[in-house]
């Protein structure tokens, strides 16, 4: 059936995309897990039954999992499940902030390099290559150490190391689009460079970028947790999952549950983003899958 309007065509495309996506059970599971994470973060004050930062040192220290404390308590007597629930906010915040900072930066650098070519391209891509040549975790560590510990600085450090692959990708997409006839037509119609970039190139470079960012989310979560584990991310008593594992490290041989809960939480959320990313890639960017 031929769509009657642009609007209808857009709706049909979204529907087709969703149907293709929904056929992939694993991707759907990933999406549901992420929705669950978002709901947990949103409803944290109502879901958490205990105070996440204050525990009773005299009566509830290092209790094994039980009916009252489903995942046990830590060395400060705090309920681990409640801390995990509040910690979901931090994880979600980090992921969203890094994506919001790094993706537009990469998109801007990449599309500008690809569209203008010449020395702009050479300069921007050299810069990208230098950042790409760096080991990401180490660079983020050094940045976080220089900026000082804290969640904002951890986000900044991760974002500063995350954008180069996006710039590469956006440039490749732009190069493929630059010679297209419709761009020539828009140019003839007198559109400015910024209009062409913003309205006609960036939207088309977006799908593959979204896939890439989603696939990177797991890496971002793991890096943030690693920073937290090393004491460079969120500071105590914040219930950040990586920092919680670091806190449980001293007790891992006898009170395994202190580190097990947050570790499993990081694993499940990273896995969810990986599954979702794989599914999105198959729908939005069929070239990327084998």
């Amino acid at each position: 059936m031929t769509p009657a309007s642009r609007h209808q065509a857009a709706i049909a495309r979204v529907k087709k995309g969703w149907q293709a996506f929904a056929r992939n059970r694993l991707a759907l599971t990933g999406l549901m897990l992420i929705a669950l994470l978002a709901a947990t973060a949103l409803l944290a004050p109502w879901l958490a039954t205990f105070d996440p930062t204050q525990g009773d040192l005299q009566t509830t220290r290092l209790l094994a999992p039980s009916g009252t404390h489903w995942l046990g308590t830590d060395d400060q007597g705090r309920d681990i499940l409640s801390r995990l629930i509040w910690g979901s906010r931090i994880t979600l915040l980090i992921v969203v902030l890094v994506a919001v900072l790094a993706a537009p930066l990469g998109l801007l650098v990449g599309t500008a390099a690809g569209f203008f070519g010449g020395w702009v391209d050479a300069l921007l891509m050299r810069l990208t290559d230098i950042f790409l040549a760096f080991p990401r975790l180490i660079l983020a560590l050094a940045l976080a150490a220089a900026l000082g510990p804290g969640i904002e600085n951890a986000v900044l450090a991760i974002a500063l190391t995350a954008w180069p692959p996006y710039a590469r990708l956006a440039r490749a997409e732009t190069l493929a689009l630059r010679q297209a006839d419709y761009i020539a037509a828009v140019k003839l119609a007198g559109a400015s460079s910024s209009r062409i970039l913003l309205r006609h190139i960036m939207p088309l470079a977006l799908p593959s970028l979204i896939v890439r960012v989603t696939l990177d989310m797991a890496g971002i979560i793991l890096t943030a947790a690693g920073l937290g584990f090393l004491g460079l991310g969120a500071q105590p008593p914040s219930p950040e999952w990586g920092a919680m594992i670091a806190g449980g490290r001293a007790f891992v041989l006898d009170q395994w549950w202190v580190a097990a809960g947050p570790g499993a939480a990081i694993f499940v959320v990273s896995l969810a983003f990986n599954l979702l990313g794989d599914g999105l890639r198959d729908v939005l960017d069929p070239k990327g899958s084998e």
Binding site: A133, L137, G231, I245
Partner: protein
């Protein structure tokens, strides 16, 4: 000409690396002069220290001095150990090299066969196994897996040695010649010490290797799928070659060159991954050196370590690029 271009790009990337570490060193909120002079220093003393450190000069001059210092192998002094950072890194680096090498032997040794197998049995259980291993590898925090593995294999089952490189009893009896514990104990001819070193490196090495295994096996699978669908494989099948020879003799041989690049890159990645692994296993290598330095804001040591890892990263990148061109006749 190509070599010249390569060298130029290498030099440029190295300079960029230096610029980044230099700039990171500048954004530190604490005044380095204050750290040297102490907080009871008078204003005049502070100005004097600043002059001595060259902090009163322009940023370009400072950067020039920084680069010149590094060219002489001077990475500054570590506040924590009091040694020069270069000496410190030379001391701890063999431990990391040893760990990463065991890791890559494990990762490539199991990852490549697994990837080939997954490609041959596409969609069947070997393929699913490689997919699941890959997903877990991409999703699990390595420090948590490390802690769990220590709990299980060391504390509960007692199959492997605990944290550290060797049992403390052997620590001072083995003469450090290469700095590689496995080699040193062999050179000393001490079988017991060697076994102790093996039992300590197995777990962190395998764990670190697992993360490269995940990547290597996925890449091996995708390269093999491409090769197996090409025409020469059809021709080889048509002339009746046994499937085993087609897979291992023909297809894998063609996939070997890009695979080599993947293995080289994973090796560089393992040097980086060792930061968290070493922290968990109390492995006295570069990673632990950097994290200890991080926790005490010892910026010279942090940046020196970052620079060394970055330089190795760039070096291996370049090397794999060159190897690719040399080994693959299609790039000529």
């Amino acid at each position: 000409m190509k070599l010249l271009r390569l060298l130029a790009s290498l030099a440029l990337t190295a300079l960029g690396l230096l610029a980044v570490t230099f700039l990171i060193g500048r954004v530190v909120p604490t005044d380095p002069a204050l750290a040297v002079a102490g907080d009871r220093a008078t204003r005049e003393q502070l100005i004097e220290v600043r002059r001595q450190l060259g902090l009163d000069r322009s940023l370009y001059v400072q950067f020039g001095r920084y680069v010149a210092g590094i060219a002489r192998g001077d990475l500054g002094e570590s506040l924590l150990t009091g040694n020069s950072v270069t000496t410190d890194i030379a001391r701890v680096f063999p431990a990391t090299l040893e760990l990463a090498t065991v890791g890559i032997v494990f990762g490539a040794g199991l990852g490549i066969p697994l990837g080939v197998w997954a490609a041959v049995r596409r969609g069947r259980w070997p393929d699913q196994l490689s997919r699941v291993l890959g997903l877990v590898g991409y999703s699990a925090p390595i420090f948590w897996l490390g802690l769990t593995a220590l709990l299980l294999f060391y504390a509960k089952l007692g199959w492997v040695g605990g944290p550290g490189r060797i049992n403390v009893g052997f620590l001072y009896s083995v003469e450090p010649r290469t700095g590689l514990m496995l080699v040193d104990t062999l050179l000393a001819g001490d079988a017991e010490a060697f076994m102790s070193a093996v039992s300590h490196i197995v777990l962190p090495g395998a764990l670190l290797g697992y993360f490269s295994l995940a990547y290597i096996s996925r890449m091996a699978r995708s390269f093999m799928l491409k090769e197996l669908s090409s025409e020469y494989v059809v021709a080889a099948r048509a002339k009746g070659l046994p499937e085993r020879r087609i897979v291992w003799g023909h297809a894998l041989r063609n996939a070997a060159v890009p695979l080599l690049t993947v293995v080289a890159l994973s090796y560089a990645g393992l040097l980086e991954g060792s930061v968290l692994t070493e922290t968990v296993f109390a492995w006295p290598g570069l990673g632990q050196y950097i994290t200890h330095a991080l926790q005490s804001a010892d910026m010279n040591a942090v940046l020196g370590g970052t620079l060394v890892v970055g330089a190795i990263f760039i070096g291996i990148n370049m090397l794999s690029d060159v190897l690719y061109r040399l080994l693959d006749p299609r790039t000529k």
